[in-house]
């Protein structure tokens, strides 16, 4: 049986799920980061950034491992190209979280009181989108088990639709937060630009989460 075990290579599905867990764990840190921004505590911001860097680094390591163990000679249940594309979206979740933490830390930004509530709500919903995307990726092994068809496939499609709903909610929350931001832009001055960038990045997390789901939807449709 030695040769059968060699023939049946290690499926990349498990590592893909592991990577998604790491990336989403990173994105979840946005909520405490927002709290640190609200209080304006630079030490708290710095320690949050440290935690985010650590999680991003872990996601990166898993990504490199997957990439280097996905040689062309493997015939995969999920095509190589699709797999790498999903992996890229997953990785963006961690990367963008890191971008947010970097900027907030470098400029030592304290969130204006008017923005506290809208940003909290946006961040919470964005994390909900990421969590939903992780639940979807957790179904990947079940999808392979059932060959991307039947009841399992419709279950996952339902989950992807739910993800899309959450994402469009984050769009609305982003819109509201931006309006609040621009309402006080005279007072904030140049900071407005940076806050706007941070709001967009936070919303981007939900966007990448949705892309993970959408790419998977295409796989099921195949």
């Amino acid at each position: 049986m030695a040769w059968i075990d060699k023939l049946v290579g290690r499926s990349p599905v498990g590592p893909m799920q592991e990577h998604m867990r790491a990336a989403v764990a990173c994105a979840r840190q946005v909520v405490p980061l927002v709290e640190a921004m609200v209080s304006g505590d630079r030490d708290a911001i710095r320690s949050q950034r440290g935690e985010i860097d650590r999680l991003e680094h872990r996601a990166d390591e898993i990504k490199h491992q997957i990439r280097s163990h996905l040689p062309r000679r493997l015939m995969l249940a999920i095509e190589r190209r699709d797999m790498l594309e999903i992996l890229d979206h997953q990785d963006s979740i961690a990367d963008v979280t890191q971008d947010i933490a970097e900027l907030v830390d470098q400029r030592g930004m304290k969130l204006p009181d008017e923005l506290a509530e809208p940003v909290r709500r946006l961040a919470a919903r964005v994390v909900a989108a990421c969590d939903q995307a992780q639940r979807i990726i957790d179904e990947l092994d079940e999808l392979v088990e059932t060959g991307f068809a039947g009841r399992e496939a419709s279950r996952v499609e339902e989950m992807i639709s739910e993800l899309a709903r959450i994402e469009s909610e984050t769009d609305e929350l982003l819109d509201r937060a931006c309006r609040t931001l621009f309402g006080i832009e005279e007072r904030l001055g140049i900071s407005t630009v940076y806050w706007h960038q941070i709001l967009l990045w936070i919303a981007d997390l939900a966007d990448y989460a949705e892309r993970v789901g959408n790419r998977l939807r295409l796989l099921i449709a195949n």
Binding site: I4, L7, V8, G9, V13, Q65, M75, L76, E142, G150
Partner: protein, 457 residues
């Protein structure tokens, strides 16, 4: 488990180093036998020395088969915890043996008579040639196992027979049509089992995995699978297969008997499937419970593969032995029919059990401890397809390779997007080893032909 550990485990799978000790040890034994024979006037304990030699070599070949192949079928069942190593060996030995005894006669005939034009083969060259065939096939088998390459026992012996035939008698004595048929089976047997595996897997997916309650479905369908396996095995065994027991049934009788056997099998399946404990449902792995039920079905197909393997591959060691014995007992005449005697089967069976005990045991334990990516539902589809193909081919007298059919079947499941990852480079090296088997084994056999000719004449 990380990638690195997985690879480390795969490495420990290849055969242990002491493999290389066996061929020299064997040559010593043949030397001693020859010496003893020359002292005793060509006889040892009243039995001609050639038969002693043939017996030892057939034992060696059967041992190589047992060490190499037999653990394959049962390994995954051990891995899933469905069978203990001890039970797996008992079951494997039993089924291999009964496969050889009950359904092995047809391939034995092909191996013995089909490859060469027997009218042109002298008794002496047949004797040396068959001894050479056994030795070279077994040597090749061990070498390949050492390299972790799955070569075909069948094709090793066929290559060896063609090898000595072409040299000792002449290329035109070789039945090249038959050889062509075997070369064609490189393509047809994996293709057939691949298509079957694809179909079986798609069926289990539609009928079980995609359903609302897969566990209920697999319990309901399980007995049908049991019926099918018992029916096929029964049909092949009963329809003129029981010549060894001087029991010849015609087709309607065989059909009836197979149906009865199938019904018994369905009952057994129903009983066992009912007893599978489902365990706690796991939210993250909702299909674990279904797979646990599939474990039972996989034991069944593993048994079927063992039976098929016995019917197909064990004949490879017994066939040449029977030919040698008939030459020696015929006093240099090549008798038309060389019957397979019970003691020859015992030699084959003994060799296999011995191989299992010395090597297969460890292979099985290693395979068993490893988390395989081939889940029971996949293993089931692949093994059922392979067993069907082998059993049918062995009934038709076409010597196909157990290995080839299994590879084809695994690929079939993979094409149905049922397996996470298949390493196509491994497929490439396997195919190369298939093609290389015939010439290498032919070359070895030519060498051993002159060796035995020098030793015995």
């Amino acid at each position: 488990m990380g990638w690195r550990e997985a690879r480390a485990i795969a490495r420990t799978h290849s055969a242990p180093n002491e493999t290389l000790v066996y061929p020299p040890a064997l040559l010593c034994v043949t030397g001693v036998l020859q010496k003893a024979g020359s002292l005793g006037g060509g006889r040892l304990l009243g039995v001609p020395i050639e038969i002693w030699l043939a017996g030892v070599l057939a034992l060696y070949m059967a041992w190589a088969i047992g060490a190499n192949d037999v653990a394959n079928a049962m390994g995954t069942s051990v891995g899933s915890g469905a069978l203990t190593v001890r039970w797996a060996i008992v079951v494997a030995a039993l089924l291999e043996f009964s496969g050889a005894f009950l359904a092995g006669g047809h391939v034995t005939d092909t191996v013995r008579k089909g490859m060469l034009d027997m009218d042109r083969v002298s008794a002496d060259s047949l004797l040396y040639g068959m001894l050479a065939a056994l030795t070279s096939a077994a040597t090749l088998l061990l070498g390949a196992t050492r390299l972790g390459l799955p070569v075909s026992t069948t094709h090793a012996i066929v290559g060896a027979i063609v090898g000595f035939g072409a040299v000792a008698i002449g290329p035109d004595a070789v039945a090249w049509g038959k050889v062509g048929q075997i070369v064609a089976s490189w393509l047809t047997s994996p293709l057939l089992s691949g298509v079957l595996a694809y179909g079986i897997f798609q069926f289990t997916r539609r009928a079980v995995l995609d359903r609302e309650s897969p566990i209920e479905q697999v319990r309901r369908l399980g007995p049908i699978f049991f019926f099918y396996v018992f029916f096929i095995v029964g049909l092949v065994t009963l329809f003129k297969g029981l010549a060894n027991l001087s029991l010849d049934l015609d087709l309607p009788q065989a059909l009836l008997g197979s149906c009865l056997l199938g019904l018994v099998g369905a009952g057994v399946g129903w009983f066992f499937l009912r007893r599978v404990k489902e365990g706690e449902p796991d939210r993250d792995h909702r299909f674990d419970q279904v797979e646990r039920v599939f474990v039972v079905l996989q034991i069944l197909t593993a048994c079927a593969v063992a039976f098929a393997h016995g019917s197909n591959d064990v004949a490879n060691s017994i066939g040449p032995l029977a030919a040698i014995v008939s030459v020696v007992e015929g006093g240099g005449e090549i008798v038309g029919k060389s019957p397979v005697r019970p003691w020859m089967l015992a030699v084959g069976g003994l060799g296999i059990v011995f191989g299992l005990a010395t090597w297969g045991y460890r292979v099985m334990e290693t395979v068993g401890r490893k988390i395989t990516e081939l889940t029971p539902s996949r293993g089931f589809a692949a093994e059922l397809a392979a067993a069907t193909t082998i059993v049918l081919a062995s009934r038709l007298g076409i010597p196909v390779s157990t290995t080839h059919t299994l590879v084809g079947a695994v690929l079939g499941v993979g094409i149905a997007r049922g397996i996470g990852a298949l390493d196509m480079r491994v497929v490439g090296s396997i195919v190369v080893s298939w093609v290389a088997t015939l010439p290498i084994s032919a070359g070895l056999s030519i060498f051993f032909y002159y060796f035995f000719k020098g030793l015995l004449s």
